[in-house]
């Protein structure tokens, strides 16, 4: 349950102290400090506060972390929308999966990854791990998407619209990964998250094996899996952003 009910009409991003006036932002920064276990967040916020630029400042070129998060979240939302559209288009051309009496199928190559499957779990795991998971997911899809693009071009029955969407998706995923990396670096530079490179190394190792599995899937399953993972990435990013802003009590 949220600690307080703010203006629900705003964008899902919680109120950003960087957007408000300096004085009120400081006050808001002081309020969560009273809560226990928020000392680290306060420190992070203080650090953030030092680097903040108001949105109305003309000479300010620094982008706040919140702005960066907004951008990547919007980008991931677009990816998810595109993949949903592509999935519905592909379902028309490929026979729908039978609702078989049996075990649920649709194994995705990313199914083996341990990812939080709920909001609570996403709130509980450390931010570094969450960030790392996001990057891992994006990395896991990089190769299979390019293979998919090459593969889907041979499908004559598909409309050109679908083919262009597939290409667009792979480009956007690459951009999103770059964006998330930048946000990660920013957060690490600001001390919000610690520098841990161990996770990154392991993700690259598993990426290769995952890619091999991805090539075995059918096109419909492929897009279905990707759609699900794009929703995962978007939700994780949202939770991560919420967790960075402590006043939202994520």
């Amino acid at each position: 349950m949220p600690a307080y009910i703010g203006d629900a009409g705003d964008s899902p991003a919680p109120v950003d102290p960087s957007r408000s006036a300096p004085g009120s932002g400081l006050r808001r920064a002081m309020a969560p400090a009273r809560a226990a276990g928020r000392a680290g967040a306060v420190a992070a916020l203080a650090l953030l506060w030092l680097l903040v630029c108001g949105p109305g400042d003309s000479g300010c070129h620094l982008l706040t972390v919140a702005d960066l998060f907004d951008r990547v979240i919007r980008h991931s939302g677009r990816i998810h929308s595109l993949s949903t559209t592509l999935y519905t288009e592909l379902e028309k051309h490929f026979p729908p999966r039978d609702n078989e009496l049996g075990k649920p199928a649709r194994k995705c190559h990313t199914s083996g990854m341990l990812t939080p499957n709920g909001k609570e779990y996403a709130q509980k795991i450390p931010r570094e791990e969450l960030t790392h998971l996001i990057l891992k997911l994006l990395q896991a899809w990089k190769e299979p998407l390019s293979h998919f693009n090459q593969h889907i071009e041979h499908h004559q029955e598909l409309p050109d619209d679908s083919l262009s969407k597939a290409k667009q998706i792979s480009n956007m995923v690459h951009e999103l990964k770059t964006g998330v990396e930048k946000v990660t670096k920013k957060m690490q530079s600001m001390g919000i998250i610690s520098n841990s490179l161990n996770g990154m190394a392991s993700s690259e190792g598993t990426g290769l094996s995952i890619s091999n599995e991805a090539n075995m899937m059918s096109d419909s399953d492929f897009i279905h899996c990707f759609r699900r993972d794009s929703n995962k990435v978007q939700s994780y990013l949202k939770i991560l952003k919420c967790r960075i802003m402590p006043e939202n009590s994520c």
Partner: protein
């Protein structure tokens, strides 16, 4: 236990209207009797939905079939992809009857589930999904509206509708992003109007009629999905509580006042137009006349009824206008025109001008004989002024330069014609024609001296000496126009001896002068004359090359005249005295002249001259 159920199931046929027992007899009576219930359905999972992507519930419907046999033992089994076996629903109560509620701990997002509706070993239905696909948010709550503004007429109004997101959805943390769709309609309408889905929780509605009541409802969906959740409760919008004093409940049926206004305007415009047309002054004031084309300085009225002189002066001021018709100095310019235009066709017109319009002209120069080219022979300008004894009206020719110019042109004209002659002569290869031409030439030579002398005599400074000098022995059948009186009478000079020109012996006989050739180089004529005269034992004429006479100078002419005069004096006049002049009896222009011969026999018949020249044949007929 499940076996008989399965066996029974295979034997049953559903046709939607009743259960038919397939015992082999599908009679209608058996159908009717067994139609206990219209719909017999298996238990089905109707829907599984998650309102906030944290929990989900599955709902099913009971089948009618169940009531017939064993008590209900329907179970909902579920299995995740990672599970090995089917598990039973943890909560049958929370979501209501025939539902299964999966709370947060049982819910795993992005994990494939399969839900099965079964009873004992009987599987009725199964569905497989993942929770992120079945998100259908609850409708928004706390819907209210406020009046923004009303139109000036009080007919329409704008309202702002506000609401809150469903409380179950965690929008704040951003776990879920919702879109809202508002629908509204008038109370008595059937079709709802939809607005585009939006993320904001407020939306304005414009141009609602104040006299009507409206209904509003909302629903929401996850931003990335396409399915909407349930509709909210209907909210009524009524403007009556705001006061209906200024509300026009009914719209104006027909804008009568507009009709009246426009009719009045049209009538007024018509009246104004009528008034304007009646009063030209007012009309002129409002609609000024468009200026017509006009020549500067010329009054068209003057042209209509003005005098010719005035008009002439006006028109002359415009430059190129030739005022020859109204000018006293016309004949000089007349010559200029003629010289500039050496067309053969103008011969006749020239002659006409000379003969018929002489009365208009007031020059005292000798007119050309009509059998000759009047143009070239008219008023040779080389004659010096001192010889103005015969007349004093050739004042126009006082400018020697003008004369020179005229003479030049004249000479060019004549010489040009000679060139033409030569060319034409060259074309005649026939000796007969040549011979003929020779004959004619000899005859023509007779003509040309008078022509020559007439050209001389036609020069402005005409002097009777020259006129008297020109004569030939048998050229007494012509009359030379010596003077044109102001009244318009042509005064002919008496027959004269041939003028002694400037002969050149050579080249004269060679030239074939055709009778039709009206123009010839005067020098050539003189040559011929000189040669002829020489042949006829006439006094030797002073030789002068034709080339020297490219243009006549007054001195040369004078000399010539003197010489001629002298020669004339020396020459024994062998010919008969011919009358000095013959008055023109009848002028038939352009046919010719009828001369009254005083000493000569009157020509019985008037000889028609073509192009103003008397042919030798005609002359021979006339003359004895």
């Amino acid at each position: 236990m499940g076996t008989p159920w399965i066996a029974l199931r295979t034997q049953l046929l559903f046709n939607g209207h009743g259960l038919v027992v397939s015992d082999g007899s599908c009679s209608r009576t058996s159908q009717k009797t067994l139609q206990m219930t219209d719909l017999l359905q298996w238990p089905q999972i109707s829907i599984c939905r998650s309102p906030e992507m944290e929990t989900f519930s599955c709902y099913w419907t009971d089948g009618n079939f169940y009531n017939l046999t064993a008590p209900r033992t329907i179970q909902l089994l579920y299995m995740k992809s990672i599970d090995e076996d089917w598990k039973e629903c943890p909560d049958y109560i929370t979501s209501g009857e025939n539902s299964c509620y999966f709370n947060v701990s049982y819910t795993s997002i992005w994990v494939p589930y399969c839900v099965r509706l079964a009873s004992k070993n009987q599987v009725f239905d199964q569905k497989c999904f993942s929770v992120d696909e079945i998100v259908l948010p609850d409708p928004p709550v706390h819907i209210n509206w406020t009046l923004l503004n009303t139109s000036q007429t009080g007919i329409h109004a704008d309202i702002q509708v506000r609401w809150d997101p469903p409380p179950t959805a965690d929008v704040q943390k951003g776990w879920i992003t919702l879109e809202y769709e508002l629908q509204y309609k008038e109370v008595n309408e059937t079709k709802w109007k939809e607005l585009t889905p939006r993320v904001s929780t407020m939306v304005p509605l414009y141009s609602l009629k104040m006299g009507r009541d409206y209904e509003i409802r909302l629903r929401s969906r996850q931003q990335t999905s396409e399915k909407f959740g349930e509709f909210s409760e209907i909210v009524y919008v009524s403007f009556s509580q705001l006061g209906s004093e200024c509300v026009r409940s009914e719209e104006i049926g027909f804008p009568w006042f507009l009709v009246v206004t426009f009719g009045a305007c049209g009538l007024a415009v018509t009246v104004i137009l009528i008034v304007l047309s009646k009063q030209p002054r007012l009309k002129m004031l409002i609609f000024p006349p468009v200026p017509v084309p006009k020549i500067k300085g010329i009054d068209p009225d003057l042209l209509k009824k003005g005098k010719l002189d005035e008009v002439n002066s006006i028109l002359a001021s415009h430059g190129d206008y030739k005022t020859k018709l109204y000018n006293d100095d016309l004949w000089v310019e007349f010559i200029e025109l003629d010289i500039e235009d050496p067309d053969e066709k103008n011969r006749v017109s020239d002659t006409d001008r000379l003969l018929s319009e002489d009365h208009l002209k007031s020059h005292s120069c000798l007119g050309a004989k009509d059998d000759d080219s009047g143009r070239a022979s008219c008023c040779e300008p080389d004659i010096p002024e001192t010889d103005f004894s015969a007349s004093d009206t050739c004042d126009a020719i006082s400018d020697s330069d003008q004369f020179k110019k005229v003479t030049e042109k004249e000479e060019d004209l004549l010489c040009l014609d000679r060139k033409d002659e030569e060319e034409s002569l060259a074309s005649f290869a026939n000796t007969d024609t040549q011979h003929r031409h020779m004959n004619t030439q000899s005859e023509n030579i007779q003509l040309w001296p008078p022509f020559a002398e007439s050209t001389d005599s036609l020069r402005p400074s005409v002097h009777p000496q020259i006129s008297n000098q020109n004569s030939l022995t048998n050229t007494d059948f012509y009359a030379q126009v010596s003077d044109i009186t102001p009244a318009g009478r042509v005064v002919l000079s008496p027959g004269q001896k041939s003028k002694v020109g400037r002969p050149q012996r050579e080249g004269c006989t060679e030239q074939n002068f055709t009778i039709d050739n009206t123009y010839f180089c005067e020098a050539d004529v003189k040559k011929c004359i000189a040669v002829t005269s020489h042949e006829e034992d006439e006094p030797h004429v002073q030789e002068q090359s034709c080339n020297e006479d490219a243009y006549f100078t007054t001195e040369s002419l004078t000399t010539t005249g003197v010489n001629l005069g002298a020669s004339t004096a020396e020459t024994p006049i062998s010919e008969m005295p011919v009358p000095d002049y013959t008055s023109i009896h009848i002028v038939h222009s352009p046919q010719g002249l009828v001369l009254n011969a005083t000493a000569l026999p009157v020509p019985d018949k008037e000889f028609n001259m073509s192009s103003g020249y008397v042919s030798t044949d005609q002359l021979n007929k006339i003359m004895p």
